[in-house]
C-alpha cells in the first residue's frame, strides 16, 4: 500500500498565527514555509507496536494505591486514514488534568487539589482494526491566563503516530455540549465547523457500562490516502 499525503487536507488545521490565542504571536514562523517534495524521510515514520506498552497502561484509574476521585469514564474509538481505512498497531498517548482541572505539573498553579491517586497519563496501541480504549476520569475545566476570565473546556490531550512522520498528530478531545466552546480560542482556532466537530467526542450510551462508567467515542482521522494512478504518475 502506497499512501500519499495531499497538503490540501491540512486546510482544516489552525493557522500558525492565531492571535486570539496569545502565545501564538511570538511562537509562529513569520517567513513563508518552504515547499518541498515528500521524500523517503517524510514518507516513513516511527513504528511503535505492542512492545512499547505494558498491560494496564491504558487504565488511568489503576496507577496508584487507590482510585482517583471524579467521574469514571471510558474513552474509545478508531484511528483511520483519509480513506477511512483503519490504522492498526499505532501508538496512542494521552494526558489530561484531574477531575478538579489540575495537571500533575510544577508549572500548573491552578489552586485546585492534586489527586494522589491520579497522574493523568496513559498509552495504548491500536489493534488490527485501528481500535483503542482508555479508562480514566473526566477532566475538569480550568482557568488560564490568555484573557480575563479565560477557561479551557474539558479536554483530553491525544498524541498519535500513524503510517508516516507526516501523519503525526497532536490534538485535543473535547466533550459534547461544552458551554465553554464559544469562548475558547484554541478550540475556535479551527475555523471550519465540520472540522471542529471532529475534535468533539460523542456520548456512547451503547458502550456505557451500567452501574460503573459512562462512555465517550472519539474517532481520529489521520493524514494519508491511497495513491490514485494520477498521483503515481507524478513520481
Amino acid at each position: 500500500m502506497s499512501l500519499v499525503y495531499p497538503k490540501e487536507s491540512l486546510s482544516v488545521y489552525p493557522k500558525h498565527l492565531s492571535p486570539e490565542y496569545r502565545s501564538t504571536v511570538k511562537r509562529s514562523p513569520s517567513k513563508p514555509l518552504i515547499i518541498v517534495p515528500h521524500t523517503l524521510s517524510e514518507l516513513t515514520g516511527p513504528v511503535y507496536g505492542h512492545d512499547a506498552i505494558q498491560v494496564g497502561d491504558n487504565d488511568l484509574t489503576k496507577q496508584h494505591k487507590g482510585e482517583p476521585l471524579g467521574e469514571r469514564i471510558i474513552v474509545h474509538g478508531h484511528v483511520y486514514d483519509e480513506d477511512k481505512r483503519p490504522v492498526p498497531e499505532t501508538l496512542v498517548e494521552i494526558w489530561q488534568a484531574n477531575a478538579c482541572g489540575r495537571y500533575v505539573h510544577n508549572v500548573d498553579q491552578h489552586p485546585a487539589p492534586l489527586d494522589p491517586n491520579f497522574t493523568g497519563a496513559g498509552r495504548t496501541v491500536t489493534d488490527k482494526n485501528g481500535y483503542y480504549k482508555f479508562i480514566t476520569v473526566k477532566p475538569g475545566a480550568y482557568p488560564w491566563g490568555n484573557h480575563p476570565n479565560a477557561w479551557r473546556p474539558n479536554h483530553i490531550h491525544f498524541s498519535v503516530f500513524g503510517h508516516s512522520f507526516l501523519s503525526r498528530l497532536v490534538t485535543q478531545m473535547y466533550f459534547p455540549g461544552d458551554y465553554l466552546f464559544p469562548f475558547d480560542p484554541i478550540f475556535n482556532s479551527v475555523t471550519d465547523e465540520k472540522a471542529r466537530m471532529r475534535m468533539i467526542s460523542s456520548f456512547d450510551l451503547e458502550n456505557t457500562i451500567p452501574d460503573w462508567a459512562l462512555c465517550f467515542r472519539f474517532d481520529i482521522v489521520l493524514r494519508g490516502r491511497e495513491a490514485t494512478p494520477q498521483d503515481t504518475d507524478k513520481h
Binding site: V12, S23, R27, P29, P46, E82, N106, D108, S159, L169
Partner: protein, 205 residues
C-alpha cells in the same frame, strides 16, 4: 471522497509527564508521581553501528526568549541510510535502532539527543540526500507542529542535497548543525529560532 482529517491542537505546557517523563523538564510537583518513558532522547542502542553523536540545541521565540515548554522530536535513518519503518523487512544488524527520539526542553529552552550519525538516504528522482534528521517541533503557542531538518556542518554532500537546494541560499545556514571543537563523541549544535532574525527554515509538507 476523502474524510476530513482531525485538526491539530497545541500540545500545551503540561505534556512532559505524559510524553517525556524522564526528560530535562522537571515536572513532578511533589515526588509522588511517575510514568514510564517509552520514547526518550537517547536513541543509541547496543546493536547500533556507526558514529555516536550528540546534538545540543536551544529553541527561542520571536523575542529571542527560550521556549521552556517545547517538545522536539527527531526521525532519522541509521548509519547506513535505512529507516526502521517497513514491517517484515530483512532483519538488520541494528534492528533495535528506532531512529526516533523525543526531548522536552528545560527552563533554558535547551534540548539534547544522543544518537548515531545517519547515512545518505534516497531522494527524489533517485538523487541521494545528504545525511540529515527530520525535526518536528511542538509547544504551547503552536497550534500545529512545524517541521524542519538538521544537516551536518562537516558533510560535503550538503552541496548537492536536493532539499537544501530548494531553500534560499541565505537561509540554508539555519538548517546546519555545527560540529563543536573537542575530543570524545562529536557534538553538533543546532539552535532553533521559531520567529524573527535568522528564523529557522520550516517546511510546508
Amino acid at each position: 471522497m476523502s474524510e476530513i482529517i482531525t485538526p491539530s491542537q497545541t500540545v500545551g505546557p503540561f505534556f512532559a509527564y505524559g510524553l517525556a517523563p524522564n526528560s530535562r523538564c522537571h515536572w513532578d510537583p511533589n515526588g509522588n508521581y511517575s510514568w514510564k518513558e517509552t520514547i526518550g532522547a537517547n536513541l543509541v542502542t547496543p546493536d547500533a553501528t556507526g558514529t555516536k553523536i550528540r546534538i545540543d540545541g536551544r529553541i527561542t521565540d520571536g523575542d529571542g526568549a527560550p521556549i521552556n515548554d517545547a517538545m522536539i522530536e527527531i526521525w532519522q535513518a541509521d548509519s547506513q541510510g535505512r529507516y526502521a519503518h517497513a514491517r517484515g523487512e530483512t532483519p538488520r544488524p541494528n534492528a533495535k535502532f528506532t531512529g526516533f527520539g523525543r526531548s522536552a526542553t528545560d527552563k533554558n529552552g535547551e534540548f539534547s539527543f544522543d544518537t548515531i550519525k545517519p547515512g545518505m538516504v534516497p531522494g527524489p528522482g533517485g538523487k541521494p540526500q545528504a545525511p540529515h534528521i527530520v525535526v518536528c517541533i511542538f509547544s504551547r503557542g503552536m497550534l500545529r507542529q512545524v517541521y524542519t531538518r538538521l544537516y551536518f556542518s562537516d558533510e560535503a554532500a550538503n552541496q548537492a542535497d536536493p532539499i537544501l537546494a530548494l531553500v534560499p541560499a541565505e537561509r540554508r545556514g539555519t538548517l546546519i548543525a555545527h560540529k563543536q571543537a573537542g575530543g570524545g563523541a562529536p557534538v553538533y549544535r543546532f539552535d532553533i529560532r521559531v520567529q524573527g532574525e535568522n528564523e529557522t527554515v520550516f517546511f510546508d509538507i
